[in-house]
């Protein structure tokens, strides 16, 4: 039985391993390029997240997921404003508990193709919504933004019991043309951790491990 170990990438080598798996999968599947400083969604060049989860089997990297801890994609490219967030908090009476300036965004979840179909994706997705990953030692939880197609929201968020509140339809950029469509558009959505994430997911410890069944 193989076991996937999941940890927050802290060392430079782990960050690079996570980035390279993401780059490899995104370029292979969507033709997307990456850069820290010449980001251009019209030319297919995406920005990097600032933090990563890394899934390994022995020394092999099999899964990764990123987290924007500043300049979130939804705010930078999705026209989501602080007012949008404030309105959502007000509707729950949670203005005092959250700071709209503290936003993160879970992004770029990838599973190496030979590990697909073994439950790894949803397990990683749930770990990416844990306090251990998104809070990064802060006292207050951040607001979690997400940008995805509606089919992803159904398959991942809804299936995991995570409520993702629609904020805005994400504008059409050429960089997303291989995965969005008129029938499956992209949205920017908001997750308010303490009310939208089931405690079993929010309190998931990291590092953690998942035993995979043999095929």
């Amino acid at each position: 039985m193989k076991s996937v170990e999941l940890r927050v990438a802290v060392r430079n080598g782990d960050v690079m391993r996570a980035q390279y798996l993401i780059v490899d999968m995104y370029h292979q599947n969507y033709g997307i390029l990456f850069s820290n400083d010449i980001v251009d969604l019209n030319s297919g060049i995406e920005p990097y997240p600032q933090s990563y989860l890394l899934g390994t089997v022995g020394s092999e990297v099999v899964a990764a997921c990123g987290l924007y801890t500043r300049d979130t994609y939804c705010e930078r490219y999705g026209e989501v404003t602080k007012d949008d967030l404030q309105q959502q908090l007000a509707s729950e009476g949670l203005e005092a508990r959250y700071d709209v300036r503290r936003t993160v965004e879970v992004t770029k979840l990838v599973i190496r193709s030979d590990y697909n179909g073994r439950g790894l994706g949803r397990w990683l997705f749930q770990a990416a919504h844990s306090a251990a990953f998104v809070m990064r030692g802060d006292e207050k939880p951040p607001l979690i933004l997400c940008c995805a197609t509606r089919s992803i929201f159904a398959a991942m968020h809804e299936a995991s019991g995570i409520r993702a509140r629609p904020l805005r339809k994400f504008p059409d950029y050429p960089v997303h043309e291989r995965y969005r469509s008129a029938d499956n558009p992209m949205d920017s959505r908001l997750i308010i951790p303490t009310v939208d994430i089931p405690p079993a997911i929010w309190n998931k410890p990291l590092p953690c491990a998942l035993t995979l069944e043999e095929r």
Partner: protein
């Protein structure tokens, strides 16, 4: 079965050894992961070459443009992003040769082959306009516009060799640009 094809004048080994030469290997993933590295590499190598020219500032632009175009294409379209692409430079005195070598999948090679046939047979100005219109209509940037511009604006002699590999559907693609050294020095 796929056969080898040549587009343009892809002459074999040079008669005389080059006066100056280098060869650099890149892992495509390193450049895809940090796309600015293509431009940085092109600028650095162009500066290295142009430094020996009478008019380095003039040469720099052409050399950097050509290297960047070849490198970006080789990296973007290479079949295995962990297998090195090779960029080589040879200065024969009167001519400069810049070349990339990488492997491409059968589908990519076929598209490139069709594009090269058009480049070799159609009027370059018409093709340039047609590709701009196609880009605007499809929002795609993979149209060969860079190669057209290189030939059109930098008076480059473009030649391509496509050779099927023995295993799988991958092909070895060598893209060679030959420039007149004097023209580069005065560009």
């Amino acid at each position: 079965m796929s056969i080898s094809r040549i587009h343009g004048v892809f002459d074999g080994a040079a008669v005389e050894p080059p006066l100056s030469k280098f060869e650099v290997k890149f892992t495509p993933l390193d450049l895809i992961a940090h796309w600015k590295r293509c431009g940085m590499t092109a600028d650095f190598l162009a500066y290295f070459i142009a430094y020996a020219f009478e008019n380095p500032k003039a040469a720099l632009n052409t050399l950097s443009t050509v290297i960047n175009e070849l490198l970006e294409n080789a990296v973007k379209f290479s079949a295995n992003k962990r297998e090195p692409v090779v960029l080589s430079f040879d200065h024969f005195g009167d001519t400069i040769r810049i070349e990339t070598c990488n492997t491409c999948s059968g589908a990519i090679t076929q598209r490139f082959d069709s594009f090269l046939q058009r480049l070799g047979s159609e009027d370059i100005e018409d093709l340039f306009i047609a590709q701009i219109e196609q880009n605007a209509a499809t929002n795609r940037s993979e149209s060969g516009l860079g190669l057209i511009t290189m030939v059109k604006d930098h008076n480059s002699n473009l030649a391509v060799s496509i050779r099927p590999l023995e295993v799988g559907d991958a092909h070895e693609v060598r893209v060679r640009v030959t420039l007149n050294a004097n023209e580069v020095d005065q560009s």
